[in-house]
């Protein structure tokens, strides 16, 4: 074998702390290395051409590039080999940037380590075999998890491109958080007016199947061919018959049930239709609050239902859907602010969350769009907004900025003035974060045109003054002193956190999540909507707090990725799969048991039980290889021999 080694300077990124020339020279001593050189930018066009020339000139049949992480440029260089007529898998990389030049300044140690990493790459390459990917068919249906604005955008874009879409929504209606908003920044246009039509499209689009009040139970399979179990939670209402007339809700005597859509501002009914524009506009029963289901009394809803849709016998059902791609758009939830005992921890009725305030402002909300204090129904004249509640606060484990609170607070201050012209708004803020288009102008308007009083400082405590008002004691760090405001209503700009059960869903999808439960993108800059699991994409706040424009943008981006994936005739599988050595296999079946993907079948060969790998199903984890007591199963390009060769290369004696 003739191996060529190319050591990249990456400008000064590597050359700065690694002597690439020396590394190249050292490589010439490694077995079967017949050519070695350093190069300015291996990934650049001249860099790649240089590799191709060297391959032709020195008749190389294997290449090692020592540069950045293979997670970055392995595909790039494999293509380079292909263009030079070599098998793209006769290639290895030595990561001498992320793992060497960037983590220490000791040039001698770095150079020596870099050479060592080239050595193990060479030892591995010597044992590589040319590989060719297998092709397999794609199921051109896509699953969208979550019916918020991001999911809606992704679903509609896919459906418009002619793809079949399955949407799964946890609540009984789609629309997500945006549907709860009264207005949106920075245009102050009506949220349900712009979202409503999109929701209707979802309901009416021939390519879209919607499962509301449902959750993803399990996911199996792989890119192009996933099998998804969807749990349709029992609503106790036959939605095929339900016309959404609302008779049942009117007559329901159980009036202390929670009303999650209205953020628990006011009690709701056991049978409920979240709001007039709900999609689907169907009733559902909250079992634990239904008198019939708990005490087997009542049953009014069934009596009054004109279409006799009520079914107290209903059970959850599991539906199986087959799709080729998945878009997770599960959004966010609000941080549980009640840990802030200094703000009353929930004891003071006139301290509300920003989302509760949206429901107060909304015409479809429990107060019909009239702002009233929960305590006495009076119209507040002095409203205090407190920002960064559960954001940028290490002491409650939420060090990150939620990003959109500054903006919606400015919006709410503006709306407050619109609703109550003789009102005054005070906004306690730390920094105003308004980097979007027309965003800063918007916050300025809140101050300049609407006279919102912005106070730079956190609030230390909120307490009732005993005369019906709340004392808000904060700091004005610009004045350099403590300040107090007597408020009729206090609105907390509660930060965003990952939606409940995000980690559990991530585990079903086999994608990663960060310390806070937000899903991990494939690359922070270059793969914002991809994940490390082929065929699974992200949209919206499930990846990190986002406002509406950003979420919609990601919805379209994720859709584009799916459309791109499905535009291929067939998909190519990674050929670095497991392979069974029939002669060694004793047919014990351990590999088949441990394989997480069911990629190993037990078959017979001349009457002997033998294991057999389904190449397109195998994901190449190598679990079977480590399990096989005979060493009969080997993972191509990660064989025992290859890994042991790397070990030996590192410590020889």
């Amino acid at each position: 074998m003739k191996i060529g080694v190319f050591v990249c300077h990456c400008g000064s990124n590597i050359e700065g702390t690694v002597d690439t020339k020396t590394v190249a020279e050292a490589s010439l001593d490694f077995p079967e290395v017949t050519f070695a050189t350093d190069t300015m930018y291996a990934c650049s066009e001249p860099g790649q051409d240089g590799i191709i020339e060297a391959i032709e000139e020195h008749k190389l049949d294997g290449v090692v590039v020592a540069s950045c992480t293979p997670r970055m440029h392995e595909p790039t260089f494999r293509k380079t080999l292909e263009r030079a007529g070599l098998n793209p898998y006769m290639f290895e990389m030595a990561n001498i940037r992320e793992h060497v030049s960037w983590i220490g300044k000791d040039r001698e140690a770095n150079t020596n380590k870099a050479a060592d990493l080239v050595r193990i790459a060479v030892e591995k390459l010597r044992r590589n075999q040319p590989l060719t990917p297998k092709e397999f068919d794609i199921n051109r249906r896509v699953l969208v998890i979550g019916g918020g604005v991001a999911g809606i955008q992704a679903a509609l874009d896919c459906a418009e491109a002619g793809l079949e879409v399955v949407m799964v929504e946890r609540e009984s209606t789609i629309g997500g958080k945006m549907a709860k908003l009264d207005k949106t920044f920075p245009t102050v246009d009506c949220s349900s007016c712009i979202l409503g039509p999109r929701m209707v499209e979802i309901a009416q689009h021939p390519n879209i199947t919607l499962y509301a009040y449902s959750e993803v139970e399990s996911v199996s399979g792989y890119v192009g061919n996933f099998e998804v179990q969807v749990k349709k939670k029992a609503t106790y209402v036959d939605w095929a018959k339900c016309t959404g007339c609302g008779e049942c809700v009117e007559k329901c005597p159980s009036r202390k049930a929670p009303d999650p859509f209205n953020e628990l501002l006011a009690p709701g009914r056991a049978i409920n239709i979240p709001f007039p524009q709900a999609i689907p506009k169907k009733a559902y029963i909250q079992a634990e609050h239904c008198i019939k289901l708990t005490k087997d009394k009542c049953g009014n809803c069934a009596k009054v239902c004109p279409s006799d849709a009520i079914n107290f016998e209903a059970k959850d059902e599991i539906i199986t859907e087959e799709v080729g791609g998945i878009i997770a758009a599960t959004g966010y939830d609000l941080f549980d602010w009640t840990v802030y005992e200094e703000y009353g921890g929930g004891r003071y009725p006139d301290v509300v969350t920003s989302l509760q305030y949206e429901r107060m402002l909304s015409a479809s909300g429990p107060t019909g769009g009239h702002v009233k204090r929960p305590s006495d129904g009076k119209e507040p004249k002095k409203v205090v907004f407190i920002q960064c509640v559960g954001s940028r606060d290490k002491s409650v484990g939420r060090p990150y900025c939620s990003g959109f609170c500054c903006m919606y607070t400015a919006k709410q201050a503006i709306l407050t003035k619109d609703h109550i012209p003789d009102s005054e708004s005070y906004v306690f803020y730390m920094d105003i974060r308004a980097p979007g288009k027309l965003y800063d102008e918007f916050t300025r308007r809140a101050m300049e045109e609407y006279g919102a009083q912005y106070i730079r400082g956190r609030v230390g405590m909120v307490y009732p003054d005993g005369e019906g008002q709340l004392v808000v004691r904060g700091a004005d760090t610009l004045m350099g002193t403590q300040v107090e405001v007597k408020a009729d209503l206090v609105v907390l700009a509660v930060g965003a956190e990952a939606a409940k059960n995000s980690p559990q869903l991530a585990e079903k999808l086999r994608i990663s999540y960060d310390a806070y439960g937000f899903f991990m993108e494939g690359h922070p800059k270059l793969k914002p909507v991809e994940t490390n699991t082929a065929g699974v994409y992200l949209a919206g706040a499930c990846q990190g707090a986002k406002d509406i424009p950003a979420s919609v943008g990601q919805g379209s981006a994720a859709a584009a990725k799916v459309i791109g994936l499905f535009s291929k005739e067939k998909l190519k599988s990674d050929p670095q799969t497991a392979l069974v050595d029939i002669k060694r296999c004793i047919g014990c079946g351990k590999c088949a048991e441990t394989c997480p993907f069911g990629a190993i079948n037990m078959t017979e060969f001349r009457g002997q039980p033998k294991a057999e790998v389904l190449e397109t199903v195998c994901q190449g984890c190598g679990l079977c290889a480590a399990t096989c007591p005979q060493g009969a199963v080997q993972l191509k390009h990660f064989t025992d021999n290859q890994i042991l060769a790397e070990v030996e290369a590192l410590c020889r004696f």
Partner: protein, 297 residues
């Protein structure tokens, strides 16, 4: 239930300005079968002046007492006074946290400290080990109709990392105990707001303002009395109530009890043991009102 027994650190003020706290605490624990073994020849913890001067000195003054308690073979020290509590706990935590610090402290002591006992407030024991239930069982003169606000002061539950007891913002231990004794506890929003602490002597103006604010709020809520667990708080609110009134042009006549006195009363302990006569603002009107209001209502 087996008899609870602890090493006991009364604190200097218990010998003087807060002797009624000391008396009632002992009487109450006696009645509740809690054995308080006074640390022999205990000395002052140094209070705020010590830690405001130097942390090692402060830890040494507290440390001596921790050492004495350890010599008694006790693994937990109780004290009624939050200021003593803070100093003893701080000393203990820092010495167990850092050998280097412990070294420095031992340099100042006659005998170096070995084992470092745990430190808790009497309130914590009553609330956690005995519990409101345990108290309720023993109540024979319920405080029915008595409307109180509970005032914890700054440092009984703060900072949480040090105190590890109750809530730092909205403590409820005294509330529950008072309710167990039959009193009505009003929602007092300033439970942990500072009363002016040790500035009564040097900067009375500060105390007048801060303690005044507390009394105003208590009055406004319609409280018959304030319940405290801290000698300094009690002194500022009770002994200095006259000064507050004249400084703020108010006319408060709010009795300020130690929670131990009211619990003792509910348990039917003799007044003499509770030192009610030591209070400056006459508590008798409030106490006589017990039971009556209800009938009226």
């Amino acid at each position: 239930m087996s008899k609870l027994s602890y090493a006991y650190y009364p604190g200097c003020s218990g010998q003087g300005t807060s002797m009624e706290y000391e008396m009632s605490t002992r009487a109450l624990c006696e009645a509740l079968d809690i054995d308080l073994k006074e640390i022999p020849d205990w000395s002052c913890c140094g209070s705020t002046p010590a830690h405001a001067c130097d942390h090692v000195l402060s830890a040494a003054l507290s440390g001596r007492n921790l050492g004495l308690a350890a010599d008694m073979g006790e693994d937990c020290v109780l004290t009624p006074c939050p200021s003593c509590l803070t100093n003893l706990k701080n000393a203990g935590q820092h010495m167990s946290g850092s050998e280097e610090f412990k070294e420095k402290v031992n340099k100042l002591l006659d005998e170096p400290i070995g084992e470092i006992p745990d430190v808790k407030s009497v309130l914590q024991i009553l609330f956690e080990d005995l519990g409101p239930k345990g108290v309720k069982e023993k109540v024979i003169k319920p405080l029915s109709g008595l409307k109180v606000v509970t005032y914890y002061g700054c440092i009984l539950t703060r900072p949480p990392k040090l105190m590890e007891f109750d809530s730092e913002e909205n403590p409820i231990s005294m509330d529950r105990l008072m309710e167990a004794a039959g009193a009505k506890v009003l929602p007092f929003p300033l439970k942990t707001e500072c009363c002016g602490a040790s500035h009564g002597v040097a900067r009375k103006d500060l105390v007048m303002k801060l303690s005044g604010k507390l009394l105003d709020m208590a009055e406004q809520l319609g409280a018959d009395a304030v319940v405290t667990a801290c000698p300094l708080c009690q002194m500022n609110l009770d002994l200095r109530q006259g000064q507050v009134n004249s400084a703020n042009k108010t006319s408060h006549k709010l009795p300020v009890f130690y929670y131990t006195q009211l619990l003792g009363w509910a348990l039917g302990l003799p007044q003499a043991q509770l030192g009610l006569d030591k209070l400056c603002v006459n508590p008798m009107p409030a106490l006589r009102g017990i039971g009556k209001k209800e009938d009226a209502a």
